[in-house]
Symmetry: C2
Subunit: 304 residues, 2 copies
């Protein structure tokens, strides 16, 4: 939501969360404890967090970019926090105003706090495959950062395709390298997907093949990277769920209810829908529309 | 183009063809010899065909739904014709006003004509994976139709994901079944991709893995199936080329020139751009735009 122009009312955010929860999505990153001065959209993070008790059977988390954010998240009652740092030095600097080493030092403090507080910590490695400033990120660079994060005692690591430039062979190589060199099993990893170049699903399928079973997506395809304005955002959850269910993976998500949530999300957003499923929601019974030349009597219109 | 509301000037169609050719796309289906009464957009098919001589190094073809269309294509000077029939009886009836058996009889006539005329014939099997009326199409059903087509003496067969509902495992199963049961090698097949549900690229990658090396896509993502109005159209050629080149396949296509062609195609179209690459065309040097909170000084804005 930080990409949406204009503040979204807290009530609307909670309404969206309730729709996503009602669809059966198992885990929701509900807000971000970024500094309100920089990200005014997230100024209501504590209010959101304190309203999550009403939803059953959902694992809620919040993003925290630093120790302060972590502390605010925990004070607001959250038991799961997503910390973030980058596999690319330039991006870590621009995104977090810190070197990777400084972010890792901060992570050590956060990890201690999480152990003390009984908080379940996850670490997102942004630009795991490509950096808008440095170009392609090698599997070696990702392994290096994941090793450092793992040595901090963090078990749950997400590989984030921040600018959507990942290719499926890179995803598979990174997952395999992490397994082979660090002993972290693919089914303990999370893949955070963007659809900037339409490659969200192909990267998901590549990771599935390699044994990854947890994916981040965004209902209605909101989000995205401000370095690619106008482009598609995060991978749309509804597109991902349709692929997974079609491949006979059971997601536990009700696709019709998820499309309800996606419709609401898009109404809150400041831009046209960027996913796919919602565009074909109208039932087949209503089709084809007036003007379509395909008739009961048949025609020469060819649809290869 | 048959999906575009309003007639496109013949000169604009030729301009688009010239831009696609200039980008180095090796093969272009330039028009369709459908009945002008049903598809007025294609009434200039012969005029288009007769203007193609000026382009070098491109294999031009036209769609022909029946013997009459085939004859008109050849009379207009084309040496490659794409015939079409369906793997689904209902779709063949609605799309072509014929049973599959009747389409196969017509194909036999067309095949004889092509042998006599020295014309290179390809056959598209529409709804190879899913039919809007009958649901999922089995690999067995596709094999049955491909066998009949092959027995007519046709070597080049395209599997068409007409409504974009294919899943990557289906694509792999169909390609493997055709290889195993009919002895047709995957690299002799063509996969015709739609992006209705955003699965064009994941299906392409699945087919690549199985050995398919020829793909149909549409510059700017034009096209699509009238049974899914408002949805994404054919897979955008620019999205496909970006994936292939990123995976180190050499397409021979100049991506910048292809984006020029895509921009022109979208201007001719009656709907917003449905692909991905064009949305991120602006060079990184111009980014981030005003209002983005990611600064040189760093910030708390987090882009996972």
């Amino acid at each position: 939501m930080q990409n949406v122009a204009g503040l979204i009312a807290t009530g609307d955010k909670l309404k969206l969360i309730s729709l996503i929860a009602a669809a059966g999505v198992p885990a929701i990153q509900a807000t971000s404890f970024a500094q309100p001065k920089w990200v005014p959209q997230m100024a209501d993070a504590a209010e959101i967090a304190s309203a999550l008790d009403r939803f059953q059977d959902v694992c809620f988390s919040a993003l925290a970019p630093n120790l302060k954010g972590y502390q605010r998240a925990v004070a607001a009652g959250l038991r799961r926090v997503d910390f973030v740092l980058s596999a690319s030095a330039s991006f870590n600097r621009k995104n977090l105003n810190a070197s990777i080493a400084e972010s890792l030092e901060m992570l050590a403090e956060v990890t201690q706090g999480a152990k003390r507080d009984g908080v379940d910590l996850r670490v997102d490695i942004s630009t795991s495959f490509h950096c808008p400033f440095e170009g392609r990120v090698t599997a070696e660079a990702v392994v290096r950062v994941v090793r450092a994060v793992h040595q901090c005692g963090v078990e749950r690591v997400a590989l984030d395709d921040t600018d959507g430039m990942a290719f499926p062979d890179q995803v598979q190589n990174a997952v395999a390298a992490i397994r082979d060199q660090l002993g972290l099993e693919p089914n303990s990893l999370i893949l955070h997907l963007h659809d900037t170049y339409g490659r969200g699903l192909v990267n998901a399928a590549a990771a599935l093949e390699e044994g990854v079973r947890a994916f981040d997506a965004s209902t209605g395809g909101l989000g995205g990277c401000p370095f690619s304005p106008g482009s598609s955002g995060n991978l749309a959850t509804e597109d991902l769920v349709a692929l997974l269910e079609g491949l006979d993976y059971s997601t536990g998500v009700d696709q019709e209810k998820l499309l309800d949530a996606a419709e609401f999300a898009v109404r809150l957003s400041s831009r046209p829908y960027q996913g796919h499923l919602l565009r074909v929601r109208r039932p087949l019974a209503l089709l084809p529309p007036a003007g379509t030349r395909m008739t009961e009597q048949g025609s020469d219109l060819i649809c290869p």
